[in-house]
Subunit: 205 residues, 2 copies
DNA sequence: TGTATTAGAGTACATTTGTTTTATTTTTGA
DNA sequence: TCAAAAATAAAACAAATGTACTCTAATACA
């Protein structure tokens, strides 16, 4: 589907390839050659090895030689969703292109210093962050490297935590909402702890 | 971290548990017992077996008996991000709670009939879908089950594809933007193909 | 202190599993 | 049609691997 050379696969190779992918999806580990053999209705491991070799040569799979169940789908991005193109949200001008990319969550999910927060309220609505959204934040250790205009989750001891635009000027920290109904907050450096900066927004409908 | 009974683990068990998790993160497959043995600086597989048994009894891991490298982290949600609580976006009222949940992408990623689109334009801005956002769509086979008010990607043959609110009334289909600048589109049933309905919105910052 | 419990080392074994080899069958292509 | 290539079956092998067992050392506990 998402592999450019998928058409180079023979039927048998493609069937095996698809089966392996679905097995890994279901069990979270690679099948053994004899399992593949059985699934393909064969009574010998040799054909499977041959197909695996071809799949490997064509760049579809890889494994650690001699190690059991180490097979891996090469370009199956963990948490990838095929991107079918772009869509107009301003008129009927664009159409699906056959861009074969993947929306890749794994990149962000591999980071260890990220966490998620549920958004309460609408103070960031003009930044398109709505009530109920999940925000993925990256933990901040030093707020010195933060650029003005970054969206951060900031904790003011004794008051609580909030999601705001961050800026720093003349030794003061300003926390600004993306909603004119809310007033900016001005704080001294030691009155606020910046906990994380915004990496991504996620909204289930 | 995200397991409620993590404190029930001995140091040795916890060290092994963390090592296994990082190994699986790195290699996408389970380590073998002898690899664990080596990583823990042991010269016998017996201690590893004992620790694995304890980890299993406490519900941290599972595996298929007798099968190589089938070990699995039980509550490690594929594509999970720890949810640290909620954050106020409307004032300083909320604080991190120690909710130990996971933002779970795997649920949606397991579906086979989903695809992603890049959003162009601002016609859905009032629905908090901005230019450049990725929308995750679920393929629609029959538009009859669609509820009015659903956001869909619709293709009007000869014109293109667009992201709009869907509604149906008196045998007509209406596609409405979430932006007063855009006029609703009225179409006959056979003039439009509904390709997918909105499942989620993803925005990298 | 002495005993019970646990952890670890060492060893051994059976199964799983990747790999190789050879012969046979099927498919392919000229 | 016929020869070459590929696929498959069958068997065997060796390495990897999970598991079980015994013995020793460390630890906990009363």
């Amino acid at each position: 589907m998402n592999h450019p050379e998928n058409h180079n696969l023979s039927d048998a190779q493609n069937e095996l390839y698809e089966w392996i992918k679905s097995y890994i999806r279901d069990f979270n580990h690679s099948p053994s050659i004899r399992q593949m053999m059985q699934a393909m209705g064969l009574r010998s491991p040799a054909p499977i090895q041959s197909r695996l070799k071809h799949l490997q040569q064509k760049g579809f799979i890889s494994w650690q030689e001699g190690k059991a169940r180490t097979l891996q789908i090469v370009d199956e991005v963990l948490g990838g969703v095929p991107i079918m193109g772009s869509v107009a949200a301003g008129g009927l001008i664009e159409t699906y292109s056959d861009v074969n990319e993947n929306l890749d969550f794994s990149e962000i999910l591999k980071k260890k210093n990220i966490f998620a927060l549920t958004v309460n309220g609408d103070s960031m609505i003009d930044a398109c962050i709505a009530d109920g959204d999940m925000v993925l934040m990256e933990k901040i250790t030093d707020s010195y490297s933060l650029r003005n205009g970054t969206i951060v989750s900031a904790m003011v001891p004794g008051l609580g935590t909030t999601l705001k635009y961050f800026s720093k000027k003349n030794g003061k920290i300003f926390l600004e909402a993306a909603n004119p109904l809310y007033e900016p907050i001005e704080l001294n450096l030691d009155e606020v702890i910046i906990q994380g900066k915004l990496l991504a927004v996620w909204r289930r409908v």
